[in-house]
Symmetry: C2
Subunit: 370 residues, 2 copies
């Protein structure tokens, strides 16, 4: 059990930015919000999965929407608490602990905000071990946890409860339409799980992993050591490519930020180009010529992370712009995302790339993501 | 109190088709569904507003969607019961009686289906005294009854509860988006009202008015008397125009059937044309030349009803087609739709016709709609 400090938040925001692979919402805004709550005397407590009772009720708390909108339309601040309360009102029982739907981006911090405002502990775990754009893409749901009841709220005070949907894909479709109607940003609390279920299916220790990544980045910056190497050491990832962003195509459509980027290689990568397709999160990275992607270097569910080459600062989808000097990393995903039932939901084909085979990045046991 | 018979259903379907002013969904399908339930031994009981206790809980049950879709995508049949049960689950108390959201179209019969399946009585009243396309257009809501909680269900078993929305316009927008995602037809139970509230705000005796209109049509048909005159006698309406449908423009968009029709006059109306704009329901009728509407003859909230000239059969929006010989009637609406707060929601300007002044049709006290 640990109580989150402003210093922790700074590290978590960096680590979650990297684990967010471009999406999950801008963590800086969440960090500022949570830091203000700490300042006001609120506390956020993180506990490990082993500290929760098997029959305790747990829910995920997360923001839903397009990162491009999230940086312009700031939350009111109460939404994470409202979402949890709407769910509790529906089930008529208190929720005992919160868990991250995804550890990436602001969604690593949203449960801490909800935890601070409701006095509930937050589990050191999440349902993705990264960020994904759609809610069915979760170790909880493709391992059979029902995705409802689910509560969706907005900053105006609208509260909606999905009492039952036939599957998580349907919930994603319904909630996404409502999210767009709510202004492209909304907050979710879902589903109602037991301690037993999260112990079985959540990706473990990911909030503390985000913190360790951030700690390593900050230590490297302070000592002027190579920041990217520090990230690779903690995550077990590899550097795919270094260069300059030369093309960014991006549109906010159907509630997502969708697009692609092209980076022109520098140093050892001079004369080649890297292409990345994204839907909030980075999906597939190809090496190729200026206009043609050719060889797949990495794909979902493994993590494709774009960081600023000098600072190691993660670059989220909505921050991509011409001229940034970037290093692209690939980090092996959780083993929980590599099962056949997981790959059916989060493999390249599920994102519209049926011709991209998933070739798992090599992974050292005990290193990186659980 | 009366128990609905198959003969009543036949009359209600005709009367509700006329009161539906083109919308409310095709009543024939509801009649067939309800007749089958009666055949299976279910009973539907109608009670007057005076028979409900002031503190009894009441909810509206209705279908939402585009009539053009409703005639192709048939319901499963359990949806009205599921909607009521979802609402009861949310509030944790039983609903004691049901009421029509609108008396027009199939929505006159949907509460009878829900009543039969749940054993609850249906009030002889509704929230519009006709049909309207959007849910905020209700005597309940513009007189201050909160529009939530509201339950929305579909034929697949998806159940959604709007725990709170900031106003009825927001609920309409959210529910309409979900309705489109559900396949353009869904069932609503909303809100939770008291007997006192429905006594104060509902339009009275409208189910029995629908039955009386249908009885009159059927009696006239049987005796070969002029059917249109029989409808006018019961409703207190006037015949605006007789002719042949020559143009129908119709599209299903945003969850509504929208469009316009042009009828070419015959008999006394030869040499003139009638133009009607509709959004599920008929909104404004103009006399004019072939291509140009000129003089407003009637507008919302008064009822503009298109019936087949010979049979008096109401013609719903999705049945409009070239060549039909029609008589267009105008029927004075409920006084409850003529207040300033009502006209702000259901007057011509609310439907996008700010230049059409509402000129109330003359009304005889005690005749027609309450």
């Amino acid at each position: 059990m640990w109580s989150v400090t402003p210093d922790d938040l700074e590290s978590i925001a960096i680590g979650a930015g990297i684990l967010g692979t471009g999406g999950g919402g801008n963590p800086y805004l969440g960090q500022q919000h949570m830091a203000r709550l700490l300042n006001q005397g609120y506390r956020a407590t993180v506990i490990s999965l082993d500290e929760i009772a098997d029959d305790a009720l747990v829910t995920e708390v997360s923001g839903m929407g397009a990162p491009t909108v999230g940086v312009e339309k700031l939350p009111r601040g109460d939404e994470p608490r409202w979402a949890v309360e709407a769910l509790e009102q529906f089930i008529g029982r208190p929720i005992e602990a919160l868990v991250c739907a995804e550890v990436g981006g602001v969604n690593s911090i949203t449960p801490l905000v909800a935890g601070a405002l409701t006095g509930k502990p937050v589990l050191d775990a999440d349902g993705m071990g990264r960020a994904f754009p759609e809610l069915q893409m979760s170790t909880h749901f493709f391992n059979g946890v029902p995705c409802t009841p689910a509560a969706l709220v907005d900053e105006k005070g609208n509260r909606i409860v999905f009492a039952h949907t036939v599957d998580a894909f349907t919930l994603e479709r319904f909630a996404r339409d409502l999210c767009v109607a709510m202004g492209c940003i909304a907050e979710l609390a879902m589903p109602v799980m037991t301690g037993r279920q999260v112990k079985a299916h959540s990706v473990r220790n990911t909030l503390s992993l985000a913190k360790r990544i951030g700690d390593a980045v900050r230590a490297a910056r302070a000592t002027k050591a190579p920041v990217v190497d520090a990230v690779l050491a903690v995550t077990g990832g590899v550097a795919l490519f270094s260069g300059k962003l030369v093309d960014v195509q991006r549109q906010t459509r159907g509630g997502f930020a969708r697009g692609q980027l092209v980076a022109e290689g520098s140093g050892a990568d001079r004369g080649t180009w890297l292409h990345i397709a994204f839907q909030n999160e980075n999906l597939v990275a190809w090496r190729g010529s200026r206009h043609t992607p050719e060889e797949v270097l990495a794909s979902v569910p493994d993590l494709i992370c774009v960081v600023e080459s000098d600072s190691g600062e993660p670059i989220t989808t909505e921050q991509l712009r011409y001229g940034l000097r970037v290093t692209v990393l690939a980090v092996p995903c959780s083993d929980k995302l590599r099962t056949p039932q997981a790959l059916a939901v989060v493999g390249p084909a599920a994102f519209g790339y049926p011709d991209v085979p998933y070739v798992p990045l090599p992974k050292q046991p005990g290193q990186g993501i659980d």
